[in-house]
């Protein structure tokens, strides 16, 4: 055997190319090894994709499991005596009058009648069980339905966020009292309420209709959601016409010369500028030089529009390029002017592609945070913006702010806000996919 091998080698040295039979043998002998190498690469590829998909699934899983409870919170049901004298001392249901009333005291009294705290200290602790938004809630109820006055009605109040965390089990009974955020007395009160069957776990009426708040149990995303909508509308109104106009100009009208070349390079580079830099530009140009107010959706939308412009231009140009020249020739052939060709034929045919690109750009704008931080949309704004010049915030920024807060409950609320944001994004992308499928034309 060894002899043969040596002989073979000698042969090989002499003969320059091995003869086919020998080559076939060599190849056949090495094939198992090579095949296993091959399947290893395939396995690596599969593993890589699997890993990426796992990351994605884990991300979604962790957000959803954290965020789903964020849509719910604990409430306590109390019997409220709607005494007009005390709630609405002036009797005109005006904001001033309701503000002067002592609805909180009524709620507290009702609470005390159940848990019976002794002494000032215990009463002070007991007051904190119910969220501080209780008087606002009563004021809203009597405004909506003045018929409540004079009745005794059961009303649900949100519990304070620490109590909520305790009921969810984040604050443990076993932890020594000095290390917990709530002490044994309060736990006793909660047990009492629980025995009476007054505590319930329900869909939160704050998360979707509330606005930013320092009290996590009252915080909601309505303000940020509306802010996002306003900002996106400004962004769309600016970026879409500008993007389409630029794309049409570059593809259909402009001659290929230095200037258009510069514009093209410029657009490509603009697409690579980090988003935070657009924020700096917004801060320096719109706010410092033009003197526009901070924190308003108008400025936010303008900054995001400039940021998404390259995306829209690039996809619109691709859509225009996909319109076959025969369509243009046909239109020119019957004597249409250049603009008529563009507006009657090219743009309608390219519209699906342009819209898809625009939606993708808008989705990008919707998720963007950093540039909006720069122009002050990070301010703590309780009021829900009514127009593009009212101060407001947007969903991603709201998420960023909440993620920074220490209270346990904000984590759930943040995740809930993320779910809403992701849902919004998924809807937009689904729309893009639908448009592409529905309007796609094959030439």
């Amino acid at each position: 055997m060894l002899c043969m091998l040596l002989k073979n080698t000698e042969n090989n040295m002499n003969k320059k190319i091995i003869n086919p039979e020998e080559a076939t043998n060599i190849v056949k002998n090495s094939i198992v090894k090579r095949r296993s190498k091959d399947s290893r690469l395939k396995l690596f590829g599969r593993a890589a994709i699997g890993l990426a998909v796992c990351f994605l699934l884990f991300l979604f899983y962790s957000i959803f499991t954290k965020g789903y409870p964020g849509f719910f919170q604990y409430y306590v049901t109390l019997d409220i005596n709607f005494d007009r004298e005390r709630i609405d001392p002036k009797g005109d249901l005006s904001d001033n009058s309701l503000f002067d009333g002592d609805a909180s005291a009524i709620v507290n009294e009702s609470l005390f009648s159940i848990i019976e705290p002794k002494g000032r200290k215990e009463k002070k602790l007991a007051k904190k069980i119910v969220s501080s938004g209780k008087d606002v809630r009563i004021a809203k109820m009597v405004k909506d339905d003045p018929g409540l006055f004079g009745t005794v009605t059961q009303v649900k109040f949100a519990l304070d966020d620490d109590i909520d965390s305790f009921l969810r089990g984040y604050i443990k009974r076993e932890t020594p009292e000095s290390e917990r955020r709530i002490n044994d007395k309060v736990i006793g009160f909660i047990d009492k309420l629980n025995e009476e069957g007054r505590i319930s776990y329900e869909f939160s009426d704050y998360i979707l209709s509330g606005s930013a708040s320092g009290n996590p149990e009252m915080a909601g995303i309505k303000g940020a959601f509306i802010g996002s909508l306003l900002t996106l509308s400004v962004c769309l109104l600016i970026a879409f016409p500008l993007g389409v106009a630029t794309a049409v100009y570059l593809e259909e009208i402009a001659k290929k010369n230095r200037i258009t070349e510069i514009i093209e390079v410029n657009i490509n580079n603009l697409a690579a500028v980090p988003s935070v830099v657009f924020g700096i530009m917004g801060l320096a140009i719109f706010i410092s030089i033009f003197g526009m107010p901070r924190s308003i959706p108008l400025v936010g939308g303008m900054v995001l529009a400039l940021m998404t412009l390259p995306t829209i231009i690039i996809s619109s140009r691709a859509a225009i390029r996909a319109v076959p020249p025969s369509v243009r020739d046909a239109a020119y052939g019957i004597g249409a002017s250049k603009l008529q060709v563009i507006f009657h034929h090219v743009i309608p045919l390219a519209m699906p592609g342009m819209l898809t690109g625009t939606i993708i750009g808008m989705a990008q704008a919707l998720g963007e945070t950093a540039p909006l931080l720069m122009i002050g949309m990070v301010a703590f704004i309780v009021d829900i913006p009514n127009s593009v010049v009212d101060p407001g915030t947007v969903l991603p920024v709201q998420i960023f702010m909440w993620a920074d807060f220490a209270e346990r409950m904000f984590i759930q609320k943040t995740s809930a806000a993320i779910i809403v944001l992701l849902g919004f994004l998924i809807a937009m992308n689904a729309l893009a996919v639908y448009l592409r499928k529905k309007l796609e034309r094959r030439w």
């Binding site: 690596f44 957000i63 500028v273 980090p274 960023f400 984590i411």
Partner: protein, 462 residues
């Protein structure tokens, strides 16, 4: 509100001019008993556009300029003793006056501020009236002139097309204006920064410790308490990018290889968009994920192994950023791998290569420039990424190569410095602009190079 009403008014008047032009064209047809050069509605559009556009221009110039003019004028109403005082800062004074104008009064402002605010308010009314009058004059004259132009020989379609072409050309210039605005906003402030802090200290200094001037004075009274050495920031950015690349390059590249060479077309159609979902998730969500899921997980598993991992670590931020940029590498590499001509694969297979050998020895070397470009693009994305590092990497400017410690990056410092209240003149605020300038230069350089490589690569196979 005023601007809104004025704009509506302008629009209504230009609509009115449309009708005027339209009717005049109709009348001309009836009068001359022959058709005009263009369709009648073009005459209307011509009238209304020529009335609208100059007026809009005037309107925007007035609205933008009035605040600037007021800011200049209001200087006269600031008492001398305030101007001469040590803490005088015009930006802050202006903000105080503006707040007072908008009715946001904190405490009791000095009398001169209230006075200035009153005067400011009267200016606003005057300027509004002025704007309205000028707009009215413009819209009426330009509308009337264009109306006059309409006669039987007038070619309104050509005129309208000329206007529209100009609008299209102007909008394509917006992209350039944006770039100029970016450069303008960053460069000027950077120059002011480098006037305060020498550039070699910024580029090569190893301690980053910016302080507001107020804080500086309140300190021990030492000069130069602030230090602006950006090396720790560059190092932090670099460290996080490297960690991100360690995650994303193998995963992205192997995914790309699998998708382009091994996967069936069905698998490809399913997994490619799925991977791209990773790029569509907002960065703030990644930041939240990094800070509240990955970092605690790393910390607890680190302590099990006896490692002390900071709660805000470069590792957590880098890992999550790596996940985020996977699709940049996988999709782009997949594209360039697919662009390698089939004939080369055929040659490989014809010689009896396995898939592995074809990919590793023929396709990948041929696609290498494109793959490198995709990695560079991913790096530039990682360097410019902000939210993940702000939320998960921390703010401590440590100069370390240890991924388990907290580091800070260029972008997170920009955000920290510029969010919230600023003293516009302080070196600390200005340093953010210098950082932004560096950031732009780095990312644009990488992008430029990557696009250049890709372009050359495409030409090779066309």
């Amino acid at each position: 509100m005023f601007s809104f009403f004025l704009l509506t008014g302008i629009l209504i008047i230009s609509l009115f001019f449309f009708l005027l032009g339209y009717n005049r064209a109709k009348n001309l047809i009836n009068l001359n008993q022959k058709n005009l050069h263009s369709l009648t509605h073009y005459y209307g559009i011509f009238c209304s556009l020529s009335a609208l556009l100059p007026t809009l221009g005037v309107f925007f110039i007035f609205t933008i300029c009035d605040d600037l003019v007021f800011a200049e004028l209001v200087k006269e109403y600031i008492p001398n003793e305030v101007i001469n005082s040590k803490d005088y800062n015009f930006t802050i004074v202006l903000a105080q006056i503006n707040n007072s104008v908008e009715g946001l009064i904190f405490g009791t402002p000095p009398q001169w501020i209230t006075n200035a605010a009153e005067i400011w308010k009267s200016w606003v009314i005057k300027s509004n009236i002025l704007t309205m009058i000028v707009c009215a004059i413009t819209i009426l004259t330009s509308g009337f002139l264009s109306y006059k132009k309409i006669h039987s020989e007038f070619r309104s379609r050509n005129a309208v097309e000329k206007i529209v072409m100009t609008i299209l050309a102007v909008s394509s210039v917006i992209a350039i204006l944006t770039t100029i605005a970016i450069i303008f906003s960053v460069v000027f402030e950077s120059i002011r920064f480098f006037a305060l802090i020498p550039y070699d200290e910024f580029l090569f200094g190893t301690v980053w410790n910016p302080q507001f001037e107020g804080a500086e004075r309140a300190g021990s009274g030492q000069e130069g308490l602030s230090q602006y050495g950006a090396i720790p920031l560059f190092a932090g950015t670099f460290l996080i990018s490297i960690i991100a690349l360690c995650v994303s390059v193998p995963i992205g590249l192997f995914s790309a290889i699998y998708l382009s060479e091994y996967a069936s077309s069905k698998e490809r159609a399913f997994f490619k968009p799925l991977l791209e979902v990773l790029a569509g998730i907002p960065t703030v969500v990644y930041g939240f994920f990094a800070a509240l899921t990955v970092a605690p997980f790393l910390r607890s598993s680190g302590s099990m192994l006896g490692l002390d991992i900071a709660s805000e670590s470069a590792l957590a931020a880098g890992l999550v950023m790596g996940i985020m940029i996977i699709p940049f590498i996988s999709s782009l590499s997949d594209d360039v791998i697919n662009a390698v001509p089939q004939s080369l694969r055929d040659a490989g297979y014809g010689l009896g290569s396995t898939k592995n050998e074809t990919v590793m020895k023929i396709v990948l070397p041929a696609a290498l420039p494109g793959v490198v470009a995709s990695i560079i693009l991913a790096v530039s994305r990682a360097v410019g990424e902000t939210m993940i590092v702000v939320m998960a990497a921390g703010l401590a400017a440590n100069l370390t190569a240890n991924p388990l410690e907290a580091v800070t990056t260029v972008t997170s410092q920009i955000v920290t410095i510029l969010v919230g209240d600023q003293e516009f003149e302080s070196a600390k605020t200005l340093s953010a602009f210098a950082l932004a300038l560096t950031l732009i230069i780095i990312t644009l350089g990488m992008n430029f190079y990557a696009l250049h490589v890709v372009k050359k690569y495409r030409e090779q196979y066309e």
